[in-house]
């Protein structure tokens, strides 16, 4: 069964905070839930599906359902790190298509800054992770694991630091128009290259920001979408995959988007050339470059050329990306960027992005999430949507 056209994005909300010292974590979830329901013009009483991931405090959503005072008949707490929320939108569409719910609420919130950089979530017993004995001794963290992907990509394909820098430059061009963005200054390729190397070959400005905040999405059935007063954004296709070390046959040159992308494009009945705007998970510049290759926007190995010379800048290049400034410049709430990828894609389809970055005639858009680590194991999720 295809879910194409069987669910719509009813409401979206991105929390404006970037430093939530004065708010609790459940409070942030409630504020984004209220924001997205208000945007849709729906009440929390109409929510009959709830989706959350490891950032939600409590037991897989049970605590949040209680706290929010909602009574969902469909609950899903799929956890794939930062890509969870892209998968949640897909699973919500599936549940709606199957008649299990009609108004599905997805929430994300986090306050890593307020908590002094501490990561929270489901990793309560890292000593029980299956890979712990063979990875924990070696000091692998998100930064140096992604850096190894960049190192190998450079080795195999001749990708350069200058090309990676263009991704940050493009994000910064967009962030200058976002008053909530953490980094609002336009940067140059040279400024990225001049920032300190934090894990070879990645510079500090190849990395995303660390921020508090959150976001929510409301996914609704076609019948409910017709009653809402917002522009209608239809879900065309979705795909997901989890790539890992494959028992030791490690290949750091590609991502799970190689699998999730074609599944989503096939279901949507569109091609990469049909995508007018793309939200691409940007934990690091290399994440964007590899994902664009794997989604088929260019050949494998040609990502460096594709992203250079402003090709990702709205109004300048062929593929406008992350027009809110993305994780690289705007925010990365709770160290999880999938939610904001969906939200900005919906803004673009509604024509509600900032006028300086709004893509003209934006009828088909893509949002892609990457959670976990490209260097070990990660969850990829692709979502394609259409303005109706």
């Amino acid at each position: 069964m295809s879910i194409s056209g069987k669910a719509y994005i009813g409401g979206i909300y991105e929390h404006p905070t970037r430093n939530a010292v004065d708010k609790s974590l459940p409070q942030l979830h409630a504020e984004v839930a209220k924001g997205a329901l208000d945007d849709a013009g729906l009440s929390h009483r109409e929510v009959d599906g709830y989706f959350c991931a490891g950032d939600a405090p409590g037991l897989g959503g049970l605590s949040m359902i209680d706290y929010l005072g909602i009574q969902p008949k469909h609950i899903d707490s799929t956890e794939t790190g930062g890509s969870s929320y892209v998968i949640h939108v897909a699973h919500a569409a599936e549940a709606i298509a199957a008649g299990k719910c009609h108004v599905a609420l997805v929430t994300l919130a986090g306050r890593p800054r307020a908590e002094g950089g501490q990561m929270r979530g489901m990793a309560a017993r890292p000593d029980l992770f299956p890979e712990q004995n063979f990875e924990a001794p070696y000091g692998g963290v998100v930064l140096n694991l992604y850096a190894m992907c960049a190192m190998r990509h450079m080795h195999e394909f001749g990708t350069t630091s200058e090309q990676l820098a263009w991704i940050k430059v493009a994000a910064s061009h967009h962030a200058q128009y976002n008053p909530h963005a953490m980094l609002q200054n336009v940067v140059t390729v040279q400024e990225v290259l001049n920032s300190p190397v934090v894990a070879d070959p990645l510079h500090r400005l190849d990395c995303c920001v660390i921020s508090d905040g959150g976001g929510a999405v409301v996914v609704v059935s076609p019948e409910i979408a017709k009653e809402l007063k917002r522009p209608r954004v239809k879900i065309l296709g979705t795909g997901e995959f989890s790539k890992n070390q494959m028992g030791g046959k490690v290949d750091l040159t590609y991502t799970g988007a190689r699998i999730s992308g074609p599944i989503a494009f096939a279901e949507a009945g569109v091609k990469p050339a049909d995508i007018k705007y793309a939200s691409i998970y940007d934990s690091f510049t290399i994440t964007v470059l590899m994902t664009l290759e794997d989604l088929g926007f260019c050949e494998k190995g040609a990502g460096g050329e594709f992203v250079a010379d402003g090709n990702l800048i709205s109004g300048v290049g062929k593929l406008p990306f992350n027009t809110d400034g993305g994780g690289l410049c705007n925010n990365h709430p709770g160290n999880r960027g999938g939610m904001t990828k969906v939200i900005e894609a919906v803004r673009q389809l509604r024509g509600e992005a900032h006028p300086r970055v709004q893509v003209q005639n934006c009828d088909v858009a893509l949002a892609h999430g990457t959670g976990g680590s490209l260097g070990t194991r990660h969850g990829s999720a692709t979502l394609i949507m259409e303005r109706e």
Binding site: P130, Q132, A136, Y138, G139, N144, R152, D200, P201, K249
Partner: protein
């Protein structure tokens, strides 16, 4: 330069043979008797064919660098790497006892052991 503190493995019944061999300086990988594939990190059930007929095999300790990164932001910078073992599987590890600028993709490496904090010595590699 101060040495980075190495997190100890939390040894469990499935991994104990690996660490018993490690105490004798042997790096073990797993071989599947059903499909013939070698795998790492080691499991009881083969991740390729799901046979439970897997046995430990001692690796030569020779390999080459598949990729690496110098973690410069750490208090004590260190080199993380994937090493392609002579036998085939790639292992996540550290490259130690050499200058960072000498570490390159493709360079041959050999096994060394480094003491973890409150645990056993763990397998790492140095330039051969």
């Amino acid at each position: 330069m101060a040495e980075r503190k190495i997190t100890a493995p939390a040894i469990n019944p499935e991994t104990k043979p690996f660490w018993d061999a490690a105490a004798k300086g042997q790096l073990l990988i797993k071989k599947c008797l059903a499909c013939g594939e070698l795998h790492y990190y080691p499991r009881t059930i083969c991740p390729f064919c799901h046979s439970d007929r897997t046995e430990w095999q001692t690796a030569s300790g020779k390999g080459s660098i598949y990729s690496f990164s110098i973690m410069r932001r750490a208090a004590e910078p260190f080199a993380i790497a994937y090493v392609t073992l002579e036998e085939g599987p790639k292992v996540l590890t550290n490259i130690v006892d050499c200058a960072f600028e000498d570490i390159k993709i493709g360079k041959p490496v050999k096994l060394v052991w480094k003491q973890s904090e409150g645990g056993p010595a763990v397998p790492m590699f140095t330039l051969a």
